[in-house]
Amino acid sequence: MTAYFISILTFVVLSAVLALALNVQWGQAGMINFGLAGFFSIGAYAAAILAVSGINPIISTLAAIVLTAVLSALVALGSVRLREDYLAISTLGFAEAVRLILLNETWLTGGPNGIREIPRPFAGIFDPATYEVAFLGASLVIFAVVYLLLERIIRSPFGRALRTVREDEVVAATLGKDVLALRVKAFAIGGAVAGLAGALHAFYLSYIDPTQFASFVTVYAFMAVVVGGRGSNRGLLIGASTVMVLLEGTRFLKELLPFMNAQQSAALRLLLVGVALILLLIFRPGGISQEYRLAVRTRDVESAPAKS
């Protein structure tokens, strides 16, 4: 039971990292990434392939991050000057192309069988049970580091410029901001974080195959961001937990409806996630946590000594 909770918590933290990635792209920059699962899978496969070939897992992870960041920048470059719909289409197409490569280029990706026995970093130091806890701890630390880094970016002049581009790019351009560069950078930052999440996923499971990176990954990330509050990172852990509670909590449906087979109850659970996403968009589009705004607290203003 404890092992179950630890694995669930680890998945929550990993999906929260992925949601952080989406929140830079969609939340801050207003750029839709429907191919998030594709970038996530590239991170996972790049890290796995390098690690299996004997390269240090940390270096493999860094390489995966760089690769996804570069690919994200390239995808963004293609459609970034057009309306958001075009980026959504390009990213979706990109993810589809990635999926085809994962399935068909067996020499590189193992095809439908995926990659097995991915060496886990620092596996020699811990015994297996402790390792799970240590991995959860390490994931939490990584989440915290990424969170703090992104918060810094959000509060920096770059973050403000990004939100300006999101709200009105003509205004941003008039103020002398390089809209194209801002968007490509934002997308690359998000891509880097998605790559990191993918690498962690690969090392955690130590086994990856294409079914783990289907479009539901993207839907979960959107769900987590919508629940947590678009543009705000604070709510993401809760958002990711909500998705997991919805997914795991609905397992009892199987006992409630014994006539359903495993496949049907899985479909019903995903169906409920989709309905929840739509209802949230309609009734609670703001999510639980508000986006950061540059504001001066009134108390400070009132108590500030009057300049004479």
Binding site: R83, G93, E96, Q263, A267, L271, V275, L277, L281
Partner: protein, 286 residues
């Protein structure tokens, strides 16, 4: 080679049907409907339901599938997109992805992931000068061309079509002229549902019924719409035929599994060179 051209033409017709639907809904509702793939799949399963579960004739089933999905599409429009209507079009995009997720999993819930086939009498293919055309392909050609004609007539000659084009061109002006937007939106969904269902049901006739039908067409449909110019129904037809031909001809050199990858390359190329497509207006810049 001639056979490849013929197959590409037929494949293109199947892409063009949903591409028109996508273009129409983009024009009138101003967002790219990402649930179009799931609508195609739902259409195929409606045809399966009428044909196999109820035992109706296959052509009757195709027609009923079109009718049923029209109603479903109107309902989705009312229940999902209308309440979301005041949100920005980015939220509508995400909403349409949610709709796709719900539709696909409803199908999996009812029918599972098994590959099924419609109940069709086997007929001898027509062979003419070495060109092979089976009965189902002939039906695809006839039904698609008829559908194009009906859509073209509706858009050009009827009051509804003029109203749809007016809303598409300039929504505030259309509203000021007293056009009932709600009614036009309903009709747009009905036509979109009809076209998507026809595509799904025809694919089901020619090949198999499985939950991934729509997903396998999604990129091709978007590529066709963008090549033709998003928002232009005529462009969607031309784009669909082009993408169909390119995909078919690409299988002469690339493995068939990369069909969608080829469409994606065409799409990216088009976005770089001429993002408003062949028939679209250049104003598409934000």
């Amino acid at each position: 080679m001639a056979q490849a051209l013929l197959n590409g033409f037929i494949g293109g017709l199947l892409i063009a049907l949903p591409a028109i639907a996508l273009s129409l809904s983009y024009g009138v509702l101003n967002f790219a409907n990402f649930s179009i793939g799931a609508l195609i799949t739902t259409g195929a399963y409606f045809a399966y339901f009428y044909n196999v579960d109820l035992g109706l004739h296959v052509l009757v089933s195709v027609a009923l599938a079109g009718l049923s999905l029209s109603i479903v599409a109107i309902l989705i429009g009312r229940l999902v997109y209308q309440p979301l209507g005041e949100a920005d079009h980015i939220t509508l995009l995400v909403g349409s992805m949610g709709v796709a997720f719900v539709l696909e999993n409803t199908i999996r819930l009812i029918y599972g992931a098994d590959v099924r086939t419609l109940d069709i009498a086997v007929a001898r293919p027509i062979i003419w000068n070495g060109l092979r055309l089976n009965n189902e392909q002939l039906i695809i050609i006839v039904v698609s061309l008829a559908a194009f004609a009906v859509v073209a007539f509706t858009l050009k000659k009827t009051a509804l079509g003029r109203a749809m084009r007016a809303v598409s061109d300039n929504p505030p002006l259309a509203e000021a002229r007293g056009l009932n937007r709600g009614r036009i939106v309903n009709w747009t969904w009905a036509i979109s549902g009809l076209l998507a269902a026809l595509a799904g049901a025809l694919v089901a006739m020619d090949a198999t019924v499985e939950p991934l039908i729509g997903t396998n067409y999604l990129i091709s449909v978007f590529a066709a719409t963008i090549v033709g110019g998003i928002g232009s129904p005529l462009g969607a037809v031309v784009g669909g035929l082009l993408i169909g031909l390119v995909e078919e001809l690409s299988t002469l050199t690339f493995p068939t599994t990369y069909r969608q990858g080829v469409s994606f390359l065409v799409l990216v190329l088009m976005l770089f060179l001429r993002p408003h497509g062949m028939f679209g207006q250049a104003k598409i810049k934000r």
